[in-house]
Symmetry: none
Subunit: 436 residues, 2 copies
Amino acid sequence: MNCAVAILSVGDELVLGQIEDTNASWLSRALQSIGRTPGERRTVGDDRARLADALRTLASTHAAVIVTGGLGPTLDDLTREALLDVVSPGAVLVEDEAGVEHLRGWFEKRGRPMPASNLRQAMRPPNARLLANPHGTAPGIAARATFDAHVCEIFCLPGPPNEMKPMFDNLVAPVLRDDANVVATAALHSIGLGESTLAERLGELMERGREPSVGTTASDGIVSIRVRATGPRNAAQAALEATIAECLSRTGNIVYGRDGEPLAAVVGRMLAERNLTLSTAESCTGGMLGSFITDVAGSSAWYMGGAVTYANERKIADLGVPAATIETHGAVSHETAIAMARGALARFNTHLAIATTGVAGPGGGSEAKPVGTVYVAVAARDGDVFSRRFHFPGDRTTVRRRTAHLALACTRFALLGEGARALLWSEGEAVRVERA
Amino acid sequence: MNCAVAILSVGDELVLGQIEDTNASWLSRALQSIGRTPGERRTVGDDRARLADALRTLASTHAAVIVTGGLGPTLDDLTREALLDVVSPGAVLVEDEAGVEHLRGWFEKRGRPMPASNLRQAMRPPNARLLANPHGTAPGIAARATFDAHVCEIFCLPGPPNEMKPMFDNLVAPVLRDDANVVATAALHSIGLGESTLAERLGELMERGREPSVGTTASDGIVSIRVRATGPRNAAQAALEATIAECLSRTGNIVYGRDGEPLAAVVGRMLAERNLTLSTAESCTGGMLGSFITDVAGSSAWYMGGAVTYANERKIADLGVPAATIETHGAVSHETAIAMARGALARFNTHLAIATTGVAGPGGGSEAKPVGTVYVAVAARDGDVFSRRFHFPGDRTTVRRRTAHLALACTRFALLGEGARALLWSEGEAVRVERA
């Protein structure tokens, strides 16, 4: 038997893709935080038979099922009926007195007459109980389904997140909480190695069935290592930390942050700790790099600003890039990237400057510099200026996002020092180093 | 039997709620646009048996199943194995020659050695075929499952949306398309009126049960009108266009674009048509405005660049804002916004310049200028400079996004002329006009 908790999301608007089902992912995280494992997730439209079928299957294979949606007052809200079909097949819904009270009170308090249809919301299967909803008309419903020796607790919650979340926290979590069986999770974010190279370094840590489990995901140049440990709360947390330490020892300084920490915030902390300042000179990213940086609250302490030099004449006038450099080597080149970074360093009088120039596409590519060719340069006052060539696959948005992420990664490696920098900046034509 | 198309999303990171499954809702909409009904949706973790079980159930009850995710190179990517268990139980995966070629070419083109683990991505069940992926290493897989008289087409697509979407559009949609029962949808995007004011203008078009249906949604200051018509392709399309024309006649030039058209692209088209150029001077948006502008392919024709002047000293040095202006009125003021826009106009020698300055939060607010206070100024060469004060609710990210959107909206209204501008720029203290 599966001690996991299934999530069943109900509603045509979900099946049709009209709204994102953020409830399901919220519930997944909430369940783990109270020591329960999220099991299968299903999404079903407003159809009584299909809904009952999905609920029955999930209930017979999980210790609990959380249903969201389908508790409204209209005829297409069928969660009550489907629940009845599963927990009391053949019976009829009964009107709950306290539920009727709640509804009358709700409308009275708002000085509005109660539409008769709302009374549907006070109906429940005979052996079920209503869950109070202080934030809306729809009460939740809790019921138990029995299949031979297996018992499943079913909780039906309203669809609106501002009603669903407090009902889960106050009335469902206390029932389901299990400190003996927590799932502790963490994500480590890295940049600089491909997903498969990183996986090779993690080696047998990623084997199926290992506890804690280790997996990887990649997005816009960022490869994340996801670790997950199960067990009694303290033991799970300790096992999680031990595996994280093992992951870190194998990946080293490729990992820049943990859980929700953005790369720009990590770079900002490093700068702030050393009292260093940063400026930007952006061509292909067109401001995105500055935007990522200023997403970080308090970034004004270390980020002075920058130049968005989309036109070549702006690179020349605002950053002092020699016109001859652009003419000879092109705007997308080591030489221009280096001159832009040097120019930002001088003009904005910062300790570090980052420059980006590239062909984001869809137009502008050539055989020598196809779409996706990008140069990132980082200049350090009284130090070196490095330029690194990249080639990013994907569309304009992807190329730009990757460029902004890699520009921040280059800055981080520059701040980590020479040895670390070599990790990201491979040898050969793709990298050039000069004195700033 | 069900002629609907099921969607199976694969990955522990989804089940655990670590990422939102935006693929599923995108596929739901994409299926409707090609005349297919989305059926059940399931989300399953990286577990071969559970995955195979879910795929088998969905395949036996739907005409087609789209699977996303689990096609990566690592040991926790098990979609290939689960597909095998469903379409060729007992068989083993075979290596696809063209798939190996694709992988070798992919790494060769990038000058990187191919990790051995990537060869897993060229494996497929014996009776399946690979779907080419020009945007990543993971090919998709198409296979057919047969259950007595029922046949189900299964398409396994990679998880990253930038790889999944083109693969669906190019290789899956042509196979599944059915013009007899299309759901035609369109969205009109507006900025400048609140959602309820807009809804009042749309009146009975928004009544429940109307066909085509009309609804509104709001996000980051943009209010979108969503229209949806069902039927045979041509009839649905005609009904859709008629309703859209009716919506437009009631909303006028508040609507700036349709469907995916970003506001920056609309502004860009207006500028390009008149041979006008634009520059930006950003404080609180920190580059986001430039980033939105340069998201538009071809924006280099009309966008010259800008200054990200996060520090006050940069506003003074780069944009010529008088230090006294900042001292007297503050960096967040009509006076500073106007000086920034004027400075950008002069420095970048463009026809129009936009400036943003505000308190994005969480810190920096005061009684007179609480978090969310933002000034946007637009200056026109040989014309006026307008500054408009806004107060946006929400967190730092929301305030910044709204600021960038409203800055573009202000530019659009400036380009539309005096009468239009009045719509957005109400009278009173919140607006100031001077000669540029």
